[in-house]
């Protein structure tokens, strides 16, 4: 499914002006500071950012997994029109694992080390649906087969430690898909895996979304991974979305200087052996962000206006940029390979 048609369908998830702050002794950490995004049914949204950009906290906020000292202070999260920020614990509980599921970076965060795979999968089904144990077990077996696990019947009897890293992540994905959810939030699920295994997992996830119509938010720091997987991309920097758009548009013609910097610093975009185009400086501390645009101090295009925080502006259909002085289209095309 390519090209989201906004008007026709209601988005599976719409996040609007979300602010999640952490009230620590040292001060308020604005981990997520005004994030708006949406995903349509069957669509894969790539949420890209470096460590500390707030991409994971955005994912956790959607599922209501923020613990004190963190708190959602503002904004709305609507799942199929239902407001989640004010939902009761029971309401959230009935959604989590059934309608909205999460895949974590470390599958051992999802899997209980002392329970067999079948026990955990049957529980996931039976908590949400009134089905017999045999029926639940059959669904578990089918879910394992669907993510490409060979001989699922015998894998069901394994404990998590008996499986390899790639297998564990597949089991975690199978658990996320088992109740045929409307939305899956995947938080760096392939970062810890080898490239050949990563390619397998990406293939499974892509096929499953296309087959089941599940919407997915794929959180990652790796633009290369989402560029071949996602329909749309949202780039985050210091707690805010700085650029969104269709994958091809963002990758081909990035408009925010940060997005362009990220793409240009990837080795394959530079002539072999040449110096890489690098973004100077380092990610600022969330406690002590520069005034105005948070990227201002590292930006080659900063102007006086950047001392004010730029609002996010629509620059095309479904294409938004948070920048006063965006990269011009002509020069935004990825750097020419200088000898």
């Amino acid at each position: 499914m390519t090209g989201p048609d906004q008007g026709a369908t209601e988005p599976t998830l719409a996040v609007d002006g979300l602010k999640t702050h952490f009230f620590t002794k040292a001060g308020v950490v604005k981990a997520v500071d005004g994030v708006s995004l949406h995903v349509n049914p069957g669509e894969i949204l790539g949420l890209v950012g470096e460590s500390g950009s707030g991409k994971s906290i955005t994912g956790f906020s959607i599922l209501g997994l923020i613990d004190p000292p963190g708190r959602i202070v503002e904004g709305s999260i609507r799942y199929k029109g239902r407001e989640l920020t004010t939902a009761s614990y029971e309401e959230l509980r009935s959604l989590r694992g059934d309608r909205i599921a999460m895949i974590f970076q470390d599958p051992m965060m999802t899997l209980n080390p002392v329970l067999r795979v079948d026990t955990q999968m049957i529980e996931t089904v039976r908590v949400h649906h009134r089905v017999s144990k045999a029926e639940a077990r059959e669904r578990a077996r089918a879910a394992l087969a669907e993510v490409g696990i060979p001989s699922p019947e015998s894998r069901l009897k394994n404990y998590p430690h008996e499986l390899s890293g790639g297998m564990r992540q597949r089991v975690a994905i199978a658990i996320a898909f088992i109740n045929k959810p409307d939305l899956i939030i995947a938080d760096e699920p392939t970062t810890a895996l080898d490239v050949t295994i990563q390619a397998q997992i990406l293939a499974e996830a892509q096929a499953l979304c296309a087959r089941t119509g599940t919407a997915m938010i794929w959180i990652t720091h790796d633009l290369a991974v989402v560029s071949s997987l996602a329909d749309r991309i949202a780039v985050m920097y210091a707690g805010r979305v700085v650029e969104t758009g269709r994958t091809a548009d963002v990758v081909n013609a990035p408009r925010h200087p940060y997005t362009r910097g990220l793409i240009n610093s990837v080795p394959s975009h530079n002539a072999r052996g040449s110096r890489l185009a690098q973004i100077p400086g380092m990610t600022p501390s969330l406690m002590n962000l520069p005034k105005g645009c948070a990227f201002r101090t590292r930006c080659s295009q900063a102007i006086d206006a950047c001392l004010e925080a730029p609002p996010i502006r629509e620059i095309g259909p479904g294409r938004e940029v948070r920048c006063f002085n965006p990269v011009a289209v002509a020069q935004s095309a990825t750097v020419e390979a200088t000898p």
């Binding site: 080898d194 390619a199 080795p267 052996g273």
Partner: protein, 332 residues
């Protein structure tokens, strides 16, 4: 680039043996058959690195690339085989020569958090070794450290700080400054940039390249990130389950890998592409090194495998000048 090999390894192997635990020993006494478990981490590997060369060592987890790097750096003793440094057997060096050889080969580690002593100030992390080895004097240490920090792009003002006060990228730079402080000729970088964010990775890669031209350094660059390896190396060695499967110059290899594993690995590299792509992953998982497949280790996952691959270990053969590959298909 001169033709002389700076470091060469012949038939290098490392086996890790797990002794049976108490329960296993008791079972053994009672007559049960309990065998020691042996991991062939590195299995008869030859490697030659010329002066001034940057060699990339690539493979997936468990292929033995780190173990090989550590043996070459002298941190692990090989079970079998020999390492030569500037043509001399490392085991046969006199103690003064061995000392010099150890200083000349330095290692940069993956985890910038675990490889720095959390209770030492940057000043002593970087400055201790050169003082001990007489490269600088205790009174000259402060200015020597300043100089080292400036070289890796850190502000010398920071030298009184502890590692936890730095970001990941800065810690990497401290690790690099520590290695440079003893004037090495050869750096073994074990996944030195894997833990860093993309924008910081680019900075550190640039630093490695600047240092190379400034100090005429030789690198063994161990990484699973093929994009980075393609960018900075002259030659690439690909390992699978403890054995080298292919080695060639970077351009040649990335233009057309010969070994089926190298082909699969290169095809899986995620690249920034403009269109959605369909993935055609190679099947199966990396087998356990405790119980590697017979014959060619890659045959259970190889699309071209035939009978001979199951029975006979393919030898590394030169298939073009400077290019070796271990695959039976090349005989056909």
């Amino acid at each position: 680039m001169s033709g002389e090999a700076l470091v060469s390894a012949r038939g290098l192997s490392k086996r890790f043996v797990k002794k049976p635990d108490l329960a296993g020993r008791i079972a053994g006494h009672l007559g049960a058959e309990v065998r020691e478990e042996t991991v062939h981490a590195v299995d008869h590997v030859d490697l030659e690195i010329k002066k001034g060369e940057v060699v990339g060592l690539v493979g997936e987890s468990g292929c033995g690339k780190s173990t090989l790097g550590r043996m070459i750096a002298g941190l692990l003793t090989p079970t079998e085989g020999e390492v030569r440094f500037k043509g001399k057997l490392r085991d046969a060096l006199s103690s003064a020569e061995a000392h010099a050889a150890r200083l000349a080969i330095q290692m940069i580690f993956q985890d910038p958090f675990a490889s720095l002593n959390p209770r030492a100030r940057v000043e002593s992390i970087v400055g201790e070794a050169p003082v001990v080895h007489g490269i600088t004097t205790r009174s000259g240490m402060a200015s020597y450290v300043d100089d080292m920090l400036r070289r890796v792009g850190l502000d010398p003002e920071f030298k009184r700080r502890y590692p936890h006060q730095f970001s990941g990228g800065q810690r990497s730079r401290i690790g690099i400054a520590r290695a440079l402080a003893v004037n090495p000729e050869f750096l073994v970088c074990d996944e030195a940039i894997a833990a860093l964010d993309v924008s910081i990775q680019a900075q550190i890669i640039n630093l490695f390249m600047d240092l190379r031209s400034e100090f005429d350094l030789t690198y063994l660059f161990i990484s699973h990130d093929l994009g980075v390896v393609q960018h900075i190396t002259d030659r690439v060695v690909i390992m699978y389950l403890g054995r080298v499967v292919e080695a060639a110059s970077t351009d040649v290899l990335f233009n057309g890998p010969n070994h089926p594993y190298a082909q699969a690995l290169l095809a899986e590299v995620p690249r920034i592409s403009t269109s959605k792509r369909t993935f055609h992953p190679i099947k199966g998982e990396i087998p356990s090194p405790l119980d590697p497949p017979s014959g060619c280790h890659f045959h259970p996952r190889c699309p071209h495998a035939f009978d001979r691959c199951r029975n006979e270990v393919p030898v590394l053969k030169e298939i073009a000048p400077g290019r070796i590959s271990a695959c039976h298909l090349n005989d056909g």
